[in-house]
């Protein structure tokens, strides 16, 4: 075995604990990928600004706390609303000009917007991060025997699952969702029915952005709130969406959970590779089934 492979085998309860942690991380990935999947699935835009918008959500929570004394619970609603509104502004001013062009331009445009947002925040807030604590109601944890589970992590998995299910239901099972999906397939026809398609498109982008911001608020108490917090997460999230299937909401959710678990297992058996495992899987999926696990378009 080459010197850079270092494999350790844990006991059963330890393994179970790691799986649980993987599941928790997976729920977070699912929440984060959801917004991206919504935006790509319904708008055909590869939103490279997703990481920066996630960061904005976390910073919004930090600013709400430090300037207005508004705590975690109201921030869960206010931050996504604020950042979602910002997203709508971006869509109206910049993004709508590239709908008819090649995917490449959407990617580059949103990448540029991300650089601007990150650069501005880095200029004013530096790179070392800001403190944000876990809300009182969720601090502490439960001793499950095989591990100590922090209450906040339990909350993350429950809340993410709820939001994921809610979004999936909204898009796949309600009338609004049906209109949205129809508008993507044939905007002219849907417009002829009297539905304001451009406004729906704008609101959809705002919704996708709000989902990213929500993930940011949920991340603030456990990860460092820093202008760079979205940069390395963005390519992981892309991998999740690609694996799940680029147009599919369900794909992003299942992909997120699955990848969290796989990453968790890699962290036990071959930790150095845990960041790269996702790309290996992405390459395999792309070569075997490019539409992804649940994707509809090839």
């Amino acid at each position: 075995m080459p010197e850079w492979m270092h494999i350790a085998v844990p006991s059963a309860p330890a393994l179970f604990a790691q799986l649980l942690i993987g599941l928790i991380n997976g729920s977070f990935y699912a929440l984060l990928s959801l917004g991206l999947a919504v935006i790509f699935g319904l708008l055909n835009i590869i939103n490279f600004a997703h990481g920066a918008l996630y960061m904005l959500g976390a910073f919004c929570a930090y600013l709400l706390l430090n300037y207005f004394g508004i705590g975690y619970w109201p921030s869960l609603l206010l931050a996504p609303l604020a950042v979602g509104a910002f997203g709508i502004l971006l869509e109206r001013c910049f993004i709508r000009w590239v709908y008819r062009l090649d995917h490449l331009y959407g990617l580059l445009l949103t990448f540029g917007l991300a650089l601007i947002v990150q650069g501005v925040f880095r200029q004013f807030y530096g790179a070392s991060g800001k403190p944000y604590s876990i809300p009182e109601a969720l601090s502490g944890g439960q001793n499950l025997g095989f591990m100590f589970l922090p209450n906040y992590r339990a909350w993350v998995i429950v809340a993410s699952a709820a939001v994921c299910f809610g979004t999936w239901f909204l898009i796949e099972r309600t009338r609004l969702g049906a209109n949205l999906r129809a508008a993507t397939e044939n905007p002219a026809l849907v417009q002829a029915f009297g539905i304001n398609v451009p406004r729906m498109v704008t609101l959809t982008y705002g919704f996708g952005v709000a989902l990213a911001a929500l993930a940011g608020v949920m991340a603030a108490p456990i990860y460092q709130v820093s202008p760079l917090m979205g940069t390395n997460l963005i390519i992981v999230v892309f991998a999740v969406v690609v694996i799940g299937g680029m147009g599919s909401i369900l794909g992003a959710i299942v992909g997120g959970f699955a990848l969290g678990i796989i990453e968790g297992l890699t962290k036990v058996f071959y930790p150095e590779a845990s960041a790269t495992a996702i790309f290996v899987i992405m390459a395999i999926v792309l070569l075997v089934k490019p539409a992804g696990l649940f994707g509809r378009r090839a």
């Binding site: 790691q18 070392s128 876990i134 591990m147 990860y223 460092q224 036990v268």
Partner: protein, 406 residues
């Protein structure tokens, strides 16, 4: 084709405007130029950044603004943590703009590259924020000065002091990078030499945000001490999440092997309390350190980090040596820096060794509890002094080709 022809000329002109340096006035004495190069926009910008520039300018001003009858100029640039950019700027500074010394240089790959460029030209590098002990090891230079801290000192300081306090079983959370492994190896050696044991370790890929899985492994190892062989955002995240998982509450101690005051600030005292760390300078240690910090704060607006304090110290000593040596020749000035003892607000009887390492006392600190902190940035209580003689890698273990081995 004609359009492209005009374009090529235009592009060349644009490049020329951007790279051409202004001609200095004829007849005026050539200034001594000091270049501050560090990360101004990315992950290490909080350690130095524009604060290092302010510190360098303070040092020049305190020295009188002139040396050898020539004015002193301070310029700066952002190397963006990329060795290409750092080496390119260094070459241009040395070859075209007459820079005599480059200061600060966080990020080891850039520091090593710039020190190489300087070494080939007999120019000086005064490294304050850069940490790799290889700068005075296999990449040492006769004109290189490693001023503030290095990874060996941090490992030894924290390692030996923690073992003395009873922490004799260790588990390492190691950033999967050369410096992470170096920190782990150096600390493990100290722990074993002091009679302790290393019960396990795990390599964490860089830029990984979630440490729960690794912290769980650390928890299950039942080691008394969890050594964090990582830096910057990774350290902050691992400490934050360790608090979440009740690691300290459960009786294990966290030892930060490369932690600075701004990391503690990013964490907040509630999360960071009880953390053990080693630093070369803390603003509130004594009257001298306090007085200097207040002056720095008046100029820059923030409390100084040890790297920024080091920039001031290094530039001051460099100018003093240059005046004493009577020349701006890099090799002679650094030789003079070795002769003169180093005494300033942060260093008592420090000495520059022949491999370029400055031997100074290091200090072991513990982060205060929130109720113990009375004013902003009142974060540390000093637990021990690690004398210079013990803190640094002995010459017998060094790979530096400059050392004469008898």
């Amino acid at each position: 084709m004609k359009a492209k022809f005009i374009l090529a000329v235009a592009a060349a002109a644009a490049l020329g405007m951007a790279t051409a340096s202004g001609a200095s006035a004829q007849g005026a004495p050539k200034p001594i130029k000091i270049g501050v190069m560090n990360d101004m926009s990315s992950v290490y910008s909080y350690l130095g950044g524009m604060g290092s520039v302010a510190a360098a300018k303070m040092a020049v001003k305190d020295f009188g603004g002139k040396v050898l009858g020539r004015p002193i100029e301070v310029i700066f640039a952002d190397h963006q943590n990329k060795p290409d950019i750092g080496a390119g700027i260094a070459r241009q500074w040395f070859d075209e703009q007459g820079v005599d010394a480059i200061v600060d240089l966080p990020t080891s790959s850039v520091a090593i590259a710039v020190q190489q460029v300087a070494k080939e030209r007999g120019k000086v590098t005064l490294i304050s924020n850069g940490g790799s002990s290889e700068l005075t090891g296999k990449f040492c230079s006769p004109t290189g000065v490693h001023w503030t801290y290095d990874t060996y000192a941090m490992a030894h300081g924290t390692g030996s002091a923690v073992v003395k306090q009873g922490g004799n079983t260790w588990f390492f959370l190691t950033a999967d990078y050369a410096f992470g492994h170096a920190l782990q190896d150096d600390t493990a050696a100290v722990v074993k030499a002091a009679g302790g044991t290393v019960v396990g370790s795990v390599n964490v890929p860089l830029n990984n945000a979630d440490f729960s899985s690794f912290l769980l492994q650390a928890q299950q190892s039942k080691a008394k001490v969890i050594g964090l062989a990582n830096a910057g955002g990774d350290t902050v995240n691992s400490i934050k999440q360790a608090a979440e998982f009740g690691i300290v509450a459960g009786g294990q101690r966290l030892a930060g092997l490369l932690v600075f005051i701004m990391d503690v600030d990013a964490l907040g005292l509630k999360t960071a309390q009880g953390l053990l760390l080693t630093e070369a300078y803390y603003w509130d240690q004594n009257d001298a350190t306090r007085a200097w910090a207040k002056r720095f704060q008046a100029v820059y607006g923030k409390i100084p980090t040890s790297g920024q304090a080091g920039v001031y110290g290094a530039v001051s000593h460099y100018l003093k040596a240059m005046a004493a040596a009577g020349t701006d020749d890099g090799i002679k000035v650094v030789a003079k820096m070795r002769e003169l003892p180093i005494n300033d607000f942060m260093t008592k009887n420090g000495k520059l060794r022949e491999d370029g390492r400055v031997l100074r006392d290091m200090y072991l600190f513990e982060v205060k509890k929130p109720e113990e902190s009375k004013y902003p940035f009142d974060y540390y209580k000093q637990l021990a002094v690690i004398p210079a003689a013990q803190a640094y890698r002995p010459l017998s273990e060094s790979e530096c080709p400059l050392i004469k081995k008898n």
